[in-house]
């Protein structure tokens, strides 16, 4: 798990005046399921195409297993790609599609036949060898595309938004399928997607990208729970991002109210961004007859909350209720299994562990990061 299989060193790439990747450095370990995640135009697909050999970087090197492969043609690389819209050969049967790479490599007929059988079994499409691609559904075609790639025994499988064209249910099934395949094959997967849920479900490592820069690299848990900046927090799941002030270590002032937190070393009275996930906002009902004085006098924040507000929107989402609460001039997004009616006065509290403090972006440039989907 520790060996670097692929090293991207200082990669820059631009199309005309449009800088797509800016001095990118990234390593991919052997046997890792790594996901490049970001909005369209963030450079994730370009990164994949550079690894696959379909684009060459303007500057920088691609090191594969210790060898510089920056200028190597795609047909000479020890990796295979699963393309976005399957890219099957429509003039060939499924079996001929799968055999294509092996025939090019002049493998024996019995070897090829065994491999076709094995690959079709692996993707649960055993009886489809003699059919043509257009007679298969999207999900089946995508599985054939994967089978066609893996019979060549690549060290790395590159997947370019392979589930993008499938409907939700099928996409979820295919996610489990991919995790299973990854385990059975024991090879490295590099996966490109703009779907954060897909990334969180399948990956060992997520690389969040935006506008040609890597925003954060980490495990799904790290990316979700400890986003490094407002872009990552906003892109991965729903979140409340509130401009706040770090009073001192372990104390932050949010919307004029002091909240204890666990973060340190931000300095004193420093402006920061605070991320609070909607499911981490704790709410209590404040009955009508409770006066402001009584609220102010209450010592226990779990009784009437630290901030008080009014529920403005309520949507039932199945697993939970999604609510918007106006409190101290900020519209809080709240997910809760209990329902709070619109117009209800509520108290808001957040556990110190659930308050994520982030440095404010330093330059104007970085502030311009926005989520576009």
């Amino acid at each position: 798990m520790s060996k670097h299989l692929i090293d991207l060193q200082n990669i820059s790439k631009s199309y005309g005046s449009n800088l797509v990747l800016d001095e990118m450095n990234l390593y991919i370990r052997e046997n890792e399921f790594l996901t490049l995640l970001g909005p369209s135009g963030c450079g994730k697909t370009t990164t994949l195409r550079i690894i696959g050999g379909f684009e060459s970087p303007d500057v920088g090197k691609v090191i594969f297993d210790g060898t510089d492969i920056t200028k190597l043609a795609p047909n000479k690389r020890q990796l295979n790609t699963v393309f976005q819209k399957y890219a099957l050969f429509t003039h060939m049967t499924i079996a001929e599609n799968i055999a294509f790479g092996l025939k090019i490599k002049k493998k024996s007929k019995s070897y090829i036949d065994d491999k076709i059988k094995y690959a079709l079994k692996l993707v649960n499409l055993e009886d489809y060898g003699n059919r043509y691609p257009e007679s298969l559904s999207g999900g089946q075609q995508q599985r054939i595309a994967i089978a066609r790639a893996i019979v060549n025994e690549p060290k790395v499988l590159l997947l370019d938004e392979p589930l993008g064209a499938l409907d939700l249910k099928l996409r979820q099934d295919m996610q489990y399928e991919l995790i299973r395949l990854k385990k059975e094959l024991g090879i490295t997967f590099i996966y490109v997607t703009h779907d954060q849920e897909e990334a969180l479900t399948m990956s060992d490592t997520i690389v969040v990208m935006n506008q040609g820069y890597i925003q954060q690299i980490g495990t799904p848990e790290m990316i979700y729970n400890e986003p490094e900046n407002a872009f990552v927090a906003d892109f991965i799941g729903d979140s409340n991002i509130i401009s706040s002030t770090m009073i001192r270590d372990e104390l932050v002032e949010i919307l004029g109210v002091k909240f204890p937190c666990v973060d340190k070393d931000f300095g004193e009275n420093k402006p920061v961004d605070v991320v609070i996930r909607p499911e981490d906002v704790e709410m209590t009902v404040i009955p009508e007859n409770v006066t402001d004085e009584e609220i102010a006098a209450a010592n226990d924040p779990s009784k009437y909350g630290r901030i008080q507000g009014v529920v403005t929107h309520l949507i039932f989402k199945g697993v939970h209720y999604e609510m918007e609460v106006m409190a101290n001039g900020f519209e809080w997004l709240v997910h809760s299994t209990s329902m709070f009616a619109v117009g209800q006065k509520v108290g808001i509290n957040v556990d110190p562990f659930n308050i994520q403090i982030m440095n404010k972006p330093e330059s104007e440039d970085e502030e311009a990061v926005g989520v576009e989907e």
Partner: protein, 274 residues
């Protein structure tokens, strides 16, 4: 139900068109071709093709049409490949330039080749100016092939370009990804996927080349008779409609054979690139 009736009504003009200008003329060709001057049924007109001078002109027409089709294919395929690989907005402009001659009158274009190829024409003038030996091209089969290629090349370029430019670039990337080098990608992926365009192109070049009489008359100097010229002369000079129609039937059979042969190579039968 009601809309179905309207659709039938809407198709009426086309049915009338087809009957008046396609079906009836065809029936007339078959009638004249299979009767003699007194209207009695006979195969004599059709069998007339076995006369040496008629057979020779059919044979020559087939050979020249074949040569010009092959040359058109060899010229057009690389062009279509290059253009569809360019991925710029200019490829449409270049295709436009190549098909621009189609906008000029067919006779004018062929007359232009006459002036170019003549013994004291433009090409020979340039050659003699450069003290190079002059060429005798006009009134040879080569001149006819020149004329056919020039006139019919756009009909080969268009369907090929249409089909090749529609091949998903990721399909080509997938072939490369699976280890195919550029030549293998061409022979195993691009060529088979462009078969419908090849079929269209062949049909649209071979058939008019086989039947032309204008090109052969203007560039062959009425010394070289193709089957088209023979048929034309039977109708216009000899006023023998029966013989002209009989030979036309023979020519039609050859066209049908050529189309059947090409479509055998098109598994899916989708020769509809244009």
């Amino acid at each position: 139900m009601k809309s179905n009736k309207y659709i039938k009504l809407l198709s009426a003009p086309y049915i009338i068109w087809a009957v008046a200008f396609i079906i009836i003329p065809l029936v007339m060709v078959f009638y004249y071709g299979l009767t003699d001057k007194d209207g009695a049924f006979t195969f004599a007109n059709v069998l007339n093709i076995s006369r040496p001078e008629h057979f020779k002109s059919l044979y020559l027409a087939l050979i020249l049409a074949l040569i010009s089709t092959v040359i058109c294919m060899l010229l057009a395929y690389p062009l279509a490949l290059i253009l569809s690989g360019m991925k710029t907005k200019n490829d449409h402009l270049i295709v436009f330039i190549f098909i621009l001659p189609m906008w000029m009158n067919f006779l004018l274009r062929t007359m232009a080749w006459q002036t170019l190829l003549e013994n004291d024409g433009v090409i020979n003038n340039v050659l003699s100016f450069l003290h190079l030996p002059t060429l005798h091209i006009i009134n040879t089969p080569a001149a006819i092939v020149f004329g056919m290629i020039y006139n019919f090349l756009p009909f080969m370029i268009l369907p090929l370009y249409n089909v090749i430019s529609k091949i998903d670039v990721n399909v080509l990337n997938a072939a490369r990804d699976l280890g195919a080098n550029p030549v293998q990608t061409l022979t195993r992926i691009i060529l088979p996927l462009s078969v419908p365009g090849i079929i269209s192109g062949i049909t649209m070049v071979f058939v008019p080349s086989l039947t032309t009489f204008v090109v052969s008359e203007m560039l062959g100097g009425s010394k070289i008779l193709l089957i088209g010229n023979v048929i034309e002369q039977e109708f216009t000079q000899n006023s023998n409609w029966n013989l002209g129609s009989g030979l036309s039937i023979v020519l039609m059979v050859f066209i049908i054979i050529s189309m059947v042969v090409t479509s055998i190579y098109d598994k899916e039968g989708e020769g509809n690139a244009l």
